[in-house]
Amino acid sequence: MSERQIQLEVLRYNPETDSEPRFQTYTVPCLNEWVVLDALNYVKDNLDTTVSYRWSCHMAVCGSCGMMINGEPKLACKAFIHEYPDKIRVEPMMHFPIERDLVTVAEDFITKFASVKPYLIPKEDKPVSAGEFKQSPAELMKFKQYTLCINCMLCYAACPQYGLVPEFLGPAAISMAHRYNQDSRDGGRDQRQEVIASHEGVWECSFVGACSEVCPKHVDPAGALQQVKVASTVDWYKEHLMPWGKK
């Protein structure tokens, strides 16, 4: 196993004591197989115990270790050292307030995510004794991709529109709403449309597509948002030109 010295530039900031963020550089002896998270853990274990960052699973499942690595939103556990030059700069995710060092405040995302009712709202109430809700493989395929979201918020860090308009509901929340809207067992679309078809909902999206580029789970939020736009447009024409229709 080959070893390589890298310079890890870590953004340090404690909003309670520091007037502004600064960079601190650590020299880390890395194994070639390491990911950036391993380098951070090395710093925390051996060089500086005060560095703060979030992580848990180390295998791109928990979605905690999102950060800017050389300017790009990445999961630190999925960013291999051998793909980077000897100097690696890590910063907290863009567009989020800093809580401390690489830890960001996620409240805005959590509130928005909850507002789209990201859970199954059954079409019909059915007692357990009546058996399961059946779903064909074709029906599952319609939304399976969107279930892979791990709420890592990299898409929010990548979205220039979210940076410009902080009220924007954002990629992950809308694609998760789309995931449930596409589910054959679900009947909650009308409730979710009230939120996602609003001005701050899908209509703030200008289809830049950065969300889909950075998504570590290949959810393709940009694709979901385009489908939501088409469906919301059809809704609008139905509601306004054919008011005798539903509702």
């Binding site: 609003s198 909902g201 209509w203 200008s206 736009k229």
Partner: protein, 113 residues
């Protein structure tokens, strides 16, 4: 939160985007051919005029022109916003007015053929 009325402008924008993606390159190519004085018999003035004189031809030309205009107007509005022009209402009004004028003049030009 109430539902947005954005679909009014997004519908023509999306349709226009699809139309222009497929048709505009062909129109540019045909215009280039004509400029180079290369016009196969199918694209002579008489043939194109006859096409534009037919009601279906009128409809197709009208669709392409108006949808392209509304697409361009909306795209330019978003581009200006991204470039930092935040007077969205003014920008939108001017651009959609241009598209509306183009729509009306296309309608009258086609009907006069």
């Amino acid at each position: 939160m109430s539902k947005s009325n954005k679909p009014i402008v997004w519908g023509p924008f999306a349709a226009g985007g699809t139309v222009t993606a497929f048709i505009t390159p062909i129109l540019a190519l045909l215009a280039l051919f004509a400029a180079m004085r290369f016009s196969p018999s199918l694209f002579t003035y008489e043939h194109i005029h006859a096409f534009a004189a037919h009601w279906l031809g009128k409809l197709i030309i009208f669709g392409i022109i108006t949808l392209s205009l509304w697409h361009a107007a909306h795209r330019f509005r978003i581009t200006l916003f991204d470039f930092g022009v935040r007077a969205d209402l003014v920008v939108a009004t001017i651009l959609y007015m241009i598209a509306a004028i183009g729509t009306v003049s296309a309608l009258f030009s086609l009907l006069s053929i």
